[in-house]
C-alpha cells in the first residue's frame, strides 16, 4: 500500500480568495444605467407635408428654446421652473378657456365617458441650446405628465399611477394623453 499523503495545509486559501475578492471589488462597476426613455418618430416615407393633420393653434403648446437656453412658451418668456405648472394647466384646461385646448368625449375603460384634452406639446430647439437645458425641459414635461396621471389614479383608485396594473395604466394613459412632438431641427441662432 502506498504511503499516506500528508494533509494539505489550506489555511492560505482564505488569503488567496480575499485577494481575488478585492480585485473584483476594485475593478468592477455596479452602476445601473438610468435615463429618460424616448421613442423617435420614424422618418416619413413620402415627404409631402400636406398629409400632416392640421392642428388648431389653441391645441398646441409651442415650446421654443433658444441658444441662450431661454424658453418661449406660446409667445411668452417663461422660466423653466414654471413649465410644469403651465403644461398641467394646458392639458387640464380647468376653466374651459378659449385659448387652451379643446376637449372631446371619449369612452375609456374604468372611467366611462370623459372629456379628453386634444392638447399637443411641440418642442423646438436651436442648435445652440445646451443639452442640459434640453434634458431639463424633457424632465419637466415628463414630471407634468406623471403628476396628471397620479392625480387621476388617486381619484379613481387611491393609488399612484405606477402602482396600478397594466390595464389601469393603459386607461389612465388614454385619459391623460401626453403627446410631445419634436419639430424638425432648424437653425435659428446661426451658430452651431
Amino acid at each position: 500500500m502506498a504511503r499516506k499523503t500528508p494533509e494539505l495545509n489550506a489555511s492560505s486559501m482564505a488569503d488567496i480568495a480575499f485577494l481575488l475578492l478585492i480585485f473584483f471589488l476594485v475593478s468592477t462597476t455596479m452602476d445601473i444605467d438610468t435615463g429618460i426613455y424616448k421613442k423617435l418618430p420614424p422618418i416619413p416615407e413620402d415627404e409631402t407635408p400636406e398629409n400632416e393633420p392640421k392642428v388648431k393653434q389653441r391645441n398646441v403648446l409651442a415650446i421654443l428654446v433658444n441658444r441662450n437656453n431661454e424658453l418661449l412658451v406660446n409667445g411668452e418668456l417663461l422660466d423653466i421652473s414654471q413649465l410644469r405648472e403651465k403644461t398641467k394647466e394646458f392639458i387640464l384646461n380647468p376653466k374651459n378657456d378659449k385659448n387652451l385646448p379643446e376637449k372631446n368625449v371619449k369612452t375609456i375603460p374604468y372611467f366611462g365617458d370623459v372629456m379628453v384634452s386634444k392638447g399637443l406639446v411641440s418642442l423646438q430647439n436651436d442648435r445652440g441650446t445646451s443639452y442640459e437645458t434640453y434634458i431639463r425641459v424633457q424632465d419637466e414635461l415628463a414630471a407634468a405628465s406623471r403628476e396628471l396621471k397620479d392625480e387621476k389614479a388617486m381619484l379613481k383608485w387611491g393609488k399612484k399611477f405606477r402602482d396600478l396594473n397594466d390595464d389601469q395604466q393603459a386607461a389612465v394613459k388614454k385619459y391623460v394623453p401626453m403627446q410631445i412632438s419634436e419639430a424638425e431641427p432648424k437653425n435659428v441662432g446661426g451658430g452651431r
Binding site: 489550506a10 489555511s11 486559501m13 482564505a14 480568495a17 480575499f18 481575488l20 475578492l21 473584483f24 471589488l25 475593478s27 468592477t28 462597476t29 455596479m30 445601473i32 444605467d33 438610468t34 435615463g35 429618460i36 426613455y37 424616448k38 421613442k39 423617435l40 418618430p41 420614424p42 422618418i43 430647439n125 436651436d126 442648435r127 445652440g128 441650446t129 445646451s130 443639452y131 442640459e132 434640453y134 434634458i135 431639463r136 424633457q138 424632465d139 415628463a142 414630471a143 406623471r146 431641427p185 452651431r192
Partner: protein
C-alpha cells in the same frame, strides 16, 4: 453536582477558521456574477445631466452606447476641444453612426435585433446641434428606441 462537571471545561476552544475560505468564495462569486466590467475606455469626458423622471435601463446586453463629450486632455492636441462622438473605442463622426448601428445589430441574435436600445451618454455642456444630427442619423438607421442617460437628481 460534581458528577456532571467536565474536566478542564473552563478553557474556550479555538474557533475553527476552516469555513472562512467558503464564506469568502461565496462573496467572491457574488461579486463576479453581479458586476460588469467596463467595456470601453472613454476617450471623451462625459458628465451626464441630472433628471428626476428617470427609468432604469434593463437588459444591458441590448444597449448600444454612443458617447459625446469633449476629448480627454491627452487627445486634445489631435482632436481639439470641441465635443466629439465616440463609438466603441474610437472617435467617430456623425456619418459613422449608421454603420455602427448596423454592426451592433449584426452582433445580436436575430430575434433580439429590433429590441436594441441606443443610449446617448452626452456631456451636459454639449450643444444640441450634435445631438440633433445624431437623432436624425438614428432615425435614418431606424434605431428608434432612445435613452438619454441621466443621473438621479437629489429631490
Amino acid at each position: 453536582m460534581s458528577k456532571f462537571r467536565k474536566e478542564g471545561g473552563k478553557e474556550t476552544p479555538a474557533i475553527s477558521t476552516a469555513s472562512l475560505p467558503d464564506i469568502v468564495f461565496m462573496l467572491l462569486f457574488f461579486f463576479m456574477v453581479s458586476t460588469t466590467m467596463r467595456e470601453v475606455d472613454l476617450n471623451v469626458s462625459v458628465l451626464v445631466p441630472e433628471a428626476k423622471e428617470i427609468v432604469k435601463l434593463e437588459k444591458k446586453d441590448l444597449v448600444s452606447n454612443i458617447y459625446v463629450g469633449v476629448p480627454m486632455r491627452k487627445f486634445q492636441k489631435t482632436f481639439g476641444t470641441e465635443p466629439k462622438i465616440q463609438l466603441n473605442d474610437q472617435f467617430a463622426t456623425v456619418d459613422d453612426i449608421q454603420s455602427f448601428i448596423a454592426s451592433e445589430r449584426e452582433a445580436r441574435k436575430e430575434e433580439l435585433r429590433n429590441k436594441l436600445t441606443t443610449s446617448l451618454k452626452v456631456d451636459q455642456y454639449t450643444k444640441m446641434g450634435v445631438i440633433i444630427d445624431i437623432k436624425q442619423e438614428l432615425r435614418k438607421a431606424s434605431a428608434l428606441k432612445l435613452n438619454y442617460s441621466t443621473r438621479q437628481a437629489a429631490e
